[in-house]
Amino acid sequence: MATSKERDKEHPKGHLAMKTPPIVSQQEWEAARQQLLVKEKALTRSRDALAAERRRMPWLAVEKKYEFVGPEGKRACSICSTAAVS
């Protein structure tokens, strides 16, 4: 990995090699953040709506019994659950 000194040598102005976004005032930065926040809020609401739809997914019955080995040995259960294994 290149040290920061090596990087400075490569880029004498001390600038990053990549093309970075503009440097702005506090006010412009806040405005940009608020603009992005609108979309982020929309994503959060949309994720909640998707989760609501997920809760309405149909259920599939698990008919087989499966066996799992835990720290206390073999457990037979319809599905591995600490509450229900015997």
């Binding site: 994720r47 909640d48 709506a49 989760a51 609501a52 997920r54 809760r55 309405r56 997914m57 259920w59 599939l60 019955a61 698990v62 087989k64 499966y66 066996e67 799992f68 080995v69 835990g70 720290p71 073999k74 457990r75 319809s78 599905i79 591995c80 659950s81 600490t82 509450a83 229900a84």
Partner: protein
């Protein structure tokens, strides 16, 4: 109950010192399972590795989630014999149902209490959620607790209910004022 299929199996790259790298990244994201347990939800990892190897791995990496060894066709039956994946099940009396399955990049969202609860059939079980009628729901914030304090405090501490109500009211007031201005 949520079951994550982690590849910690003989023959998988990293064996026997490590679980698969992707699966290990998932394991490192997992929040304290006490919060899931408080919503009557269990998270378990399953792998082909024997328990002795799993115990050693958990101790080395500081992982605390329950981790079982597979013995049969569970992985093939639930789409996790070749790739990692997360299945969600629900128990209703003696019956068990598969309610959800996610894999691929869906698994990279897993680990937080909220994202895990969001893939369960009952969700976070909080009042604000749009859930079918009769689903268990309690107010948000109130059931939250320190991960080592759920057992000692079976129902919300009245003082905490008061504090969280006041906090929420103050937040909503500020939010409304900001919108009005």
């Amino acid at each position: 109950m949520i079951v994550y299929r982690a590849f910690f199996d003989p023959g998988v790259f990293g064996w026997p010192e490590h679980a698969c790298r992707g699966c290990s990244m998932v394991a490192d994201q997992v929040a304290h399972v006490a919060h899931l347990n408080a919503r009557d939800t269990t998270l378990v990892f399953v792998s082909r590795a024997p328990q002795a190897d799993i115990a050693r791995l958990k101790a080395r990496m500081g992982w605390e989630m329950p981790w079982y060894s597979l013995t049969d066709g569970f992985d093939a039956d639930f789409g996790v014999d070749e790739w990692h994946g997360t299945n969600a099940f629900i128990r209703d009396g003696d019956k068990v149902f598969r309610t959800y399955f996610i894999n691929n990049r869906g698994d990279e969202q897993m680990g937080s209490t909220w994202n895990y609860l969001d893939i369960t059939a009952l969700g976070r079980q909080e009042e604000w959620e749009d859930s079918p009628e009769g689903y268990p729901q309690t107010p948000p914030y109130k059931w939250w607790n320190w991960h080592d304090n759920y057992a000692a405090e079976a129902s919300p501490d009245p003082k905490w209910v008061e504090v969280s109500d006041a906090g929420e009211a103050a937040f909503r007031k500020r939010d409304a004022e900001a919108k009005a201005s």
